[in-house]
Symmetry: none
Subunit: 136 residues, 4 copies
């Protein structure tokens, strides 16, 4: 009736925020960065100076999607995106920039980045993952 | 000015949850399972270990849709899905996995299953219906 | 940057629902029963035939409160209940019937029961905990 | 018809989160920390490992209150707390732990801390303010 699982600590989440911000500064694209745990609770968040404030919402959806499916948000098949997005009240998104936080094969949560191009969002998320030795 | 209707009991709902979980375990696909009554009230719910947590939302939409129309969610015509889905704030969905709970020709509610493929979702919902002698 | 934690499985949650319903039937008081995990995600839910349907909402708040504080919901001090309840948009409640799910000293989540008297709600929650060898 | 105002950057917000977490670790009380800007937009957030997850909600209310009134949340007079809290849908709170972020006499936003005692919440918020040379 019980099982064990690995959990991301706030030290890890804070390190991810710092690494994401650093990369976003380096590429000159302010970002909204949201980190959620494996059950969808927000663990950490940063809205960078100059970022689009509504991207906070899409970054959250990206993080939730990646954490829920254990894969990148843009792996949601194109054909079902509108239907699943609507049924999940916008929480499921196929937008790029949502990456799972995977360590030793375990999904610890998700990171969502938004405000830049899809490529920039992914680059910043990957920098955050690399800072804690996770893949996504 | 009054009428009678048949109602699903919580014993029935609990039996459905158990049967759904058993089938989901048998096919190796953890599921989110939501059962609503004929008025759209949630009767029972189970989020299986390893299921996608956001599928809880789409499973609810599937159950609501099936209960509301008295038919499977994927019978909503393709052409009207976006418009009806938006108008119903995402509660109406054409995704497969929403089945009405029909006994003696009466719609007692709906069951929605989500996290697997459409076929898996339907199979698990059908196993739940069979456990109480309902069709969907 | 990582830690380990124990998690309640859906088998455990389903067993709790069954034990809660059985006790509620035995005392003749239909109940709403909600089980959430340690991060506030709903794991399982049952609205018994004859239960007050709005108690589903208070049962959820009780479960969330107990899981969040790792203690019974009615341990929230009387003096701060209105203020904390309002600030948490109703999710924090001092109503009796919310018990943490504690196994080996680890809080695995919370169970909230509502529809009966405070004593009945607690009794049903305790029966659920006992069924999996948890304390609360 | 236009004016200028001083704004907290994300570097400042991130520094505040780090200082808050460090103090919270030092006193052994995990906290939820929320920083909002002078317009009520969330700038940064951290939910520490072991913090009460529902305190995220009250920490947000504390931060919003402090930013909105330009003073500590617990300066809201006792007598009007219930009425103002209700009218503001819980966003205005008199709970301690919400401090304005004031630099050169300008309110740049608010920080809300929750999960500990009122004294602990204030201590952690003050550590965050000190890290950027702000008062509150």
């Amino acid at each position: 009736m019980f099982t064990q699982t690995k959990v991301l600590t706030h030290q890890g989440a804070l390190k991810m925020l710092g690494a994401a911000a650093k990369r976003a500064e380096a590429i000159g694209q302010p970002q909204c960065i949201v980190i959620v745990d494996a059950r969808g609770q927000v663990a950490a968040e940063l809205v960078m100076t100059g970022a689009k404030f509504l991207s906070r919402k899409s970054a959250l959806a990206k993080a939730l999607t990646a954490s829920s499916i254990g894969a990148r948000s843009d792996t949601i098949p194109e054909a079902v995106r509108p239907a699943i997005g609507a049924a999940a009240k916008g929480d499921v998104t196929g937008l790029p920039g949502g990456l799972p936080i995977i360590v030793d094969g375990v999904v610890l949560g998700g990171i969502g980045v938004g405000s830049g191009s899809g490529e920039q969002d992914v680059e910043v998320a990957e920098a955050a993952l690399a800072s804690i030795g996770a893949i996504g």
